[in-house]
């Protein structure tokens, strides 16, 4: 971090009431439900949740990357650099995607084009977004590959994606995403397909790059360990909603939503106490057909009570920069104020 805590006054990106539904034959699937969050300059915001919790769809909706139909971003605003991305023209969006907002995807093999050299794919983004000449773009490409730690960068420019290992391919993806010096980098499960030792290398690289370049990062993952190591603040998603939001220390020290608590306790660690039996969350995540009118976690929650089945809880304050969508939090804060 450049100067202690990230600046909380000026969010670079602010998302309000984002709702995305997918039209299916069975009915509308509410994949993202009233999602609100802000991203401050220079911070790493972790987004954690299981598959189908809406992490990726939220990010894709923000940049209007979802095919419509079936997807329909029904409501919300996404403020970025003085404009609403959901109202922006296609031309504006093309300039922002890959320019001011960089994207890294989970699988580097499918997100790189196999028939073009790595150098071509790097130059493409530089020439398109920054209008660089061929020569200048080539020079900058070498610098970028060196920056992400690819040895012998100059000769590797003419190599094709299949000639790189998984970890190296992900480094190339990071170089492409950072080519135009973005102010926001969205990393969608960038280390999930990698081995742990390679994951450790990539995490270290991202920490260094963030310190040197100062962009804000949204880091999507299902791995709580990765979140603990890299994020400043965390959003926990479940069934298309943000169920808890906190600074990373608070989230692990004082998880307030029963889902977060359960999630943290199901993961076995490689050190410390070893439980005889794993805590498990019984049942499975709800299908998102139809508007939710109860707490989405109600059927699996060990502390659910009558009210949880009757109405959906909103995010309620737990502490400073810490909130959770659970009626238990509301009750606890009532007790505290009385």
């Amino acid at each position: 971090m450049k100067s202690g805590a990230p600046n909380e006054q000026s969010p670079v990106l602010s998302v309000r009431d984002l709702c995305t539904v997918f039209g299916t034959r069975a009915g509308d699937v509410h994949a993202v439900n009233s999602v609100n969050f802000e991203l401050s300059a220079g911070e790493i915001l972790g987004v954690v949740g299981e598959s189908g919790s809406g992490k990726t769809v939220t990010m894709m909706s923000m940049l209007r990357l979802l095919p419509s139909p079936p997807a329909n971003v029904k409501a919300g605003t996404v403020h970025f650099e003085g404009r609403d991305l959901l109202q922006a023209t296609d031309k504006e969006l093309r300039r922002i995607r890959g320019g001011r907002i960089g994207f890294i995807f989970q699988d580097p093999m499918t997100s790189l084009n196999p028939v073009f050299s790595v150098g071509f794919q790097l130059r493409e983004s530089l020439r398109r977004h920054l209008g660089m000449s061929r020569k200048a773009a080539s020079k900058r490409s070498v610098e970028l590959l060196e920056m992400v730690g690819i040895p012998d960068a100059e000769s590797r420019l003419s190599a094709f994606p299949h000639q790189f290992s998984g970890g190296m391919r992900q480094r190339v993806m990071i170089a492409i995403a950072l080519a135009c010096d973005p102010s926001v980098l969205i990393a969608d499960e960038p280390t999930t397909a990698l081995d742990v030792t390679i994951q450790a290398q990539i995490l270290e690289l991202i920490r260094d790059l963030r310190r040197d370049l100062g962009m804000a990062i949204i880091w999507i993952t299902h791995d709580l360990g990765v979140i603990a190591g890299i994020a400043n603040r965390v959003l926990v998603m479940y069934a298309g909603q943000i169920v808890e939001h906190a600074r990373v220390e608070d989230l692990f020290a004082n998880p307030s939503h029963p889902y977060t608590r359960a999630l943290i306790s199901t993961v076995p660690a490689v050190r410390g106490h070893r439980a005889k039996r794993l805590n498990s969350i019984e049942g499975q995540a709800p299908t998102l057909l139809g508007m939710p009118n109860s707490c989405p976690f109600e059927s699996r929650c060990s502390s659910a009570f009558a009210r949880c089945a009757q109405e959906a809880p909103h995010r309620m304050q737990v502490g400073s920069s810490h909130d959770a969508a659970c009626f238990l939090v509301e009750n606890a804060s009532h007790v505290a104020t009385n």
């Binding site: 742990v196 290398q201 360990g225 660690a269």
Partner: protein, 334 residues
């Protein structure tokens, strides 16, 4: 106890000795044999009755091939695999067919390992029909028992795999593996494709089944936390070889091989304060190709502690303390 049973109890269920699985590389117009991918290179270990052996390592280290070789699902190049004292590697086709019911497998991808055109009942009944002579109603009864045992609703017996979630599909795969009352189940990354909350459900189910049915598991995984939870002993593989093998608590508390140390230190922990203060051993570079391993120790080009001997001689797997084996020259003089 009859003498035969007594002998069985003292003997491990599975004994793997100097197992080698090489895949030939053919090149040129004549497809000449030009080299080998040494997927498993001189691996020895044993699995006791009712024991869970964890096999960990990164992708491409040969852990899956080793597991498949025990069931003879891949051709074995060299070495012996004794299952209840009988060699699997040299068994005749008929002899192998007699042994198969006792050894089963659970696969990584529950979607790909179930036939989409078969109902759940017919998937679970298939091994029973193949190996046992049961009547129709007995088979149905057996299938229903198995569905109960793995926590699937009996009423879903006539549904197709796509109607189930990932965790439930994995339960179907487990029921199929249990159908013939095996002694050994090779679990090849059984939870890698599942969500965290579902992983715990499946692992608890496996643990329950193990204690109620006296099963032995070979648990192949790259998830070091989960292996620590479920395994009794753990073997760490790197580039086709076992580099360290020890009791679970011993291995996690005193990792001795530099690769095991690096692997454990790379695992991110769900504890922000610890994450901030810990010192990681960062390995440089990638795993070399198993068709062209380095001379000397396989790990020498990435090892932070390598010295001249490591680039010359291959270290043997030897005991460094009771029940703790490691293949590293650092322990030669101790």
């Amino acid at each position: 106890m009859s003498p035969q049973i007594e002998q069985e109890a003292s003997q491990p269920l599975v004994e793997v000795n100097s197992l080698k699985v090489y895949f030939p590389i053919r090149s040129g117009v004549f497809r000449r044999h030009s080299g080998n991918v040494r997927a498993v290179d001189n691996v020895s270990f044993s699995i006791g009755h009712g024991e869970t052996m964890g096999l960990v390592g990164e992708s491409g280290c040969g852990k899956t091939t080793a597991g498949r070789a025990i069931l003879r699902l891949v051709p074995i190049t060299d070495g012996t695999i004794k299952f209840r004292g009988k060699d699997v590697a040299s068994a005749s086709p008929e002899g192998m067919r007699k042994m198969r019911p006792q050894m089963q497998m659970i696969f990584q991808d529950p979607q790909a390992s179930l036939n989409p055109r078969m109902t759940v009942a017919s998937i679970i009944a298939e091994p029973i029909k193949e190996h046992q002579n049961l009547g129709r109603s007995e088979t149905i009864e057996r299938v229903q028992e198995l569905m109960d045992a793995v926590g699937l609703n009996r009423d879903f017996a006539n549904r197709y795999p796509h109607e189930f979630s990932g965790g439930q599909k994995q339960r179907i795969g487990i029921a199929r593996a249990l159908a013939l009352n095996p002694d050994l189940i090779v679990c090849d990354e059984p939870i890698a494709a599942l969500d965290v909350s579902i992983q715990a459900q499946v692992v608890n189910l496996l643990a329950d089944l193990q204690s109620s049915r006296k099963l032995s598991f070979l648990f192949i995984s790259h998830d070091l936390g989960m292996v620590r939870h479920i395994a009794d002993r753990v073997a760490v593989m790197y580039l086709g070889q076992i580099v360290e093998l020890a009791d679970r608590d011993d291995l996690y508390a005193n990792p001795s091989h530099p690769y095991t140390e690096a692997l454990l230190s790379a695992v991110p922990e769900a504890d922000p304060e610890y994450e901030r203060s810990r010192r990681r051993i960062l390995l440089t570079g990638d795993v070399p190709s198993p068709s062209n391993p380095p001379t000397g120790c396989n790990f020498c080009n990435r090892c932070p502690k390598a010295f001249d001997r490591c680039f010359r001689d291959e270290p043997a797997l030897k005991e460094i303390s009771e029940g703790h084996l490691a293949a590293c020259h650092l322990f030669d003089n101790s």
